[in-house]
């Protein structure tokens, strides 16, 4: 039976994994994602979940254990935050290149220095180009739902890729929200058992990952790229099925709020979208035509959906909660791909990037109002800077006056 609960993002992830019937779990402690493993270890200890719970000796091992288990034919689950995500870097490409669809829960966290527990997308954004599926949830419900959907997407034989199932540290991972746990039988119907085509099985010997010569490299790499060509239609299919089966209303890639008649838009992923919508409600009352477009998948980067959504407005601010030091915009990461997604359009909006919420700082309503002012000015003057570090630049501070 489906059940209403009041869960944090960590508990939501754990119950998503449980209802996905994960078989091998590898853990290592780091805040804030630790809560997921604490919950799962209880479920295993109580006998509510029949899985091997392996205490990894670090994140590098966690990912190695998970993709090893996946290679042997078990549904595998792991997770991390911050420096832990960085520590496992070597293992991301082998998992994706080996086409081993294990899942890694991320409750994001700033990297060191400075030592900080706060949310920042920088940790796992650093691994975005390794061939993993990746996207952020904005609520515990979405964490639970994504956990289940990601397995079905990643394990689909047209895809076969591992998944970073991300949520904002603390803002989502530690703030309880009302949500629904679905009926196990219904989840089983939605998510068939993991059935890899080439497991490590002595009855059907296969070799995984032999050395190649350079002239074989492109031919092998292109296969990982082709999987990303297939994936958008798989995601659309899976999200549609999930919506139908469980009565949700997710759009596959871009979640829009008041975008239809908007002139300016906030473009972002994760929990700050909720504050952005509050800001929009307030600004709309003052006659500002502003909307929110929330990115649900960073990988695959949904170019077409972004073009459709953002071409409706005249100016877009990517609200960045990760860094790209020295990058083209001198701001964050999302702007770079957003701009290049919009570049082929005849009519494209001005795009700027707002550096906000770093180190887990709350992005306040006032900051969103300031962003809206910068964007409205950009519509009037036809130009904007590449990036604005919120609360550190004249244009932004002036708006507070």
């Amino acid at each position: 039976m489906a059940k209403e609960v009041f869960y944090s993002g960590c508990a939501a992830a754990a119950y998503g994994a449980k209802d996905a019937r994960v078989e091998v779990i590898s853990s290592y402690p780091i805040r804030p994602y630790t809560g997921i493993m604490m919950e799962l270890s209880k479920l295993v200890a109580n006998g509510e979940l029949d899985a091997e719970f392996v205490h990894g000796e670090g994140e590098h091992a966690q990912v190695s254990i998970a993709y090893g288990a996946s290679a042997a034919g078990a549904r595998a689950y792991t997770g991390s935050s911050g420096v832990g995500v960085a520590y496992a870097m070597e293992c991301y490409s082998p998992a994706a290149g080996g086409r081993l669809p294990c899942q890694m829960a991320i409750a994001d966290r700033a990297l060191d220095p400075p030592g900080d527990f706060g949310s920042e997308h920088t940790d796992v954004m650093g691994a975005r180009d390794q061939g993993w599926i990746m996207g952020w949830a904005e609520s515990p419900q979405e964490v639970y739902d994504n956990t289940i959907m990601y397995y079905r997407i990643g394990e689909d034989h047209r895809v076969q890729l591992p998944q970073f199932c991300c949520q904002d540290g603390y803002f989502v991972s530690h703030i309880p929200g009302r949500m629904k746990l679905e009926d196990q039988k219904a989840v089983d119907e939605f998510l068939p058992p993991y059935n890899p085509p080439h497991p490590l099985d002595p009855n059907r010997p296969v070799n995984h990952g032999p050395q190649i010569f350079p002239d074989q490299g492109s031919a092998i790499n292109v296969q990982r790229a082709v999987a990303f060509d297939e994936i958008e239609s798989v995601i659309e299919e899976v999200v549609k099925d999930y919506n139908k089966q469980f009565g949700r209303k997710y759009s596959p890639f871009v979640d829009e709020y008041m975008m239809d008649d908007a002139e300016i838009a906030f473009f972002l992923q994760g929990a700050h979208a909720r504050t952005a919508r509050f800001a929009v409600n307030h600004l709309r009352k003052q006659g500002v035509k502003v909307g929110v477009a929330r990115l649900r998948f960073m990988r695959p980067f949904p170019t077409k959906a972004i073009q459709e959504s953002l071409s409706k407005v005249k100016a877009v601010g990517t609200v960045e909660t990760s860094t790209s030091y020295g990058g083209q915009s001198r701001g964050g990461n999302i702007i770079h791909e957003t701009r290049s997604a919009l570049y082929p359009l005849d009519k494209r909006p001005i795009v700027t990037s707002f550096m906000a919420g770093l180190g887990g700082e709350i992005v306040t309503l006032n900051e969103f109002y300031a962003m809206a002012k910068v964007l409205s000015d950009a519509v009037k003057t036809g130009k904007a800077n590449d990036s604005y570090w919120m609360n550190f630049e004249k244009e932004v501070l002036d708006t507070h006056k």
Binding site: E23, V24, S26, D50, A51, E52, V54, H55, G56, E57, G58, H60, A61, S64, I65, A66, Y67, G68, A69, S70, A71, A72, G73, A74, A76, E90, C91, P94, G98, P193, L200, D201, P202, N203, R204, P205, V206, N207, H208, G209, P210, Q211, I212, F213, Q216, I220
Partner: protein
């Protein structure tokens, strides 16, 4: 009671004649002539048979063994990073445990074997190896010891002997002996700290039946086991490629290598010579030691004399750390 996941009892061979002629490590590799680690692979594969999954951390036995579309393994094999052989093995073993428990896999637990070099075992791969041993996964971790980071062009590793000329320890005016440090004792790292381990042994390509039987004994245990296998490397040690087995035998005759078993706390020794030859008899055939003076050889001899008082056990050796030397 839970279903037994492993009931196998691999038989001990009395002679090579009793060892199967079937091969599961077949032609298709590119190892050097006289490669000791390749011989290890052949023997270990005969010992395990085909109900096995092998893991190859990066190193010669990955790079020189596998070419895409042409790999020499007739059982399932997977590359691992040089860093994570023990961790990937842990994941595979955990997967089989749960799949067997749930009835999703019908057979018995396969033999899960990590074939790591010295670097992949006790240097960059030490953490993953130790954790696999500690958690008690039913898998066999083999360290084939060619006494260097061979694949990258023969650099010093913690298994490289004192005095070796490697491409990171070239002898020169300021450092005449080349490598100044003495090696880590690999089996002790495992024996000394892992309560779930009941079997650790050393073996050498010089004694193939002994090597095969130790692999089988290790696999008959339910739980982790560690084997340290001496595997001379003609390219790295610079000796005649026809003499791999001879060099391995000389190592035993001079005490540079000792074959022993550690089984539930008890040590037994094999192939102990009546009288040890001087280490020089082993070293003089290898160009990597060619630059050493009598004083250096005496230092090596003193180290080996001390170790031979209790091989495989933690005892004092006459070694000064680099910061102690005036």
């Amino acid at each position: 009671m839970a279903k037994e996941v492993k009931t196998q009892n691999l038989e001990m061979a009395k002679s090579l004649r009793q060892v199967t002629q079937d091969e599961w490590y077949v032609p298709g590799h590119r190892t050097c002539q006289g490669c000791g680690p390749a011989l290890v692979y052949k023997l270990v594969s005969k010992a395990t048979g085909p109900n096995s999954i092998f893991l190859g951390p990066t190193g010669c036995m990955y790079v020189a063994n596998t070419s895409y579309l042409c790999a020499p393994f007739a059982y399932p094999w997977m590359h691992t990073q040089i860093t994570n052989g023990g961790a990937v093995a842990s994941g595979i073993e955990a997967a089989y445990q749960v799949l067997i428990r749930k009835g999703k896999y019908k057979g018995e637990l396969p033999n899960i074997v990590v074939m790591a070099g010295d670097g992949g075992a006790i240097d960059i791969g030490l953490q993953a190896m130790s954790a696999m041993m500690y958690r008690g996964h039913d898998a066999l971790f083999i360290m084939y010891d060619n006494e260097s980071y061979a694949n990258t062009g023969i650099q010093t590793s913690p298994a490289t002997p004192y005095g070796a000329n490697t491409t990171f320890t070239p002898p020169g005016k300021a450092v005449p002996e080349g490598k100044v440090l003495f090696p880590k004792d690999a089996p002790q790292l495992v024996i000394g700290a892992h309560p779930a381990v009941h079997y650790v042994a050393t073996a050498s390509v010089a004694y193939p039946v002994d090597l095969i039987n130790k692999v089988r004994k290790a696999l008959n245990y339910k739980g982790p086991a560690f084997l340290h296998l001496h595997a001379p490397c003609p390219k790295g040690w610079l000796f005649d490629a026809a003499k791999t087995v001879e060099i391995a035998k000389l190592a035993i005759q001079t005490g540079m290598w000792v074959n022993y078993e550690w089984e539930k706390g008890e040590y037994t020794y094999q192939h102990t010579p009546k009288e040890y030859k001087p280490v020089k008899e082993y070293m003089k055939h290898q160009y990597r030691f060619n630059h050493l003076t009598d004083a250096h050889l005496a230092k090596m001899q003193a180290f080996i004399d001390a170790k031979l008082k209790a091989p495989g056990k933690p005892i004092a050796v006459p070694v000064q750390g680099p910061r102690e030397q005036a």
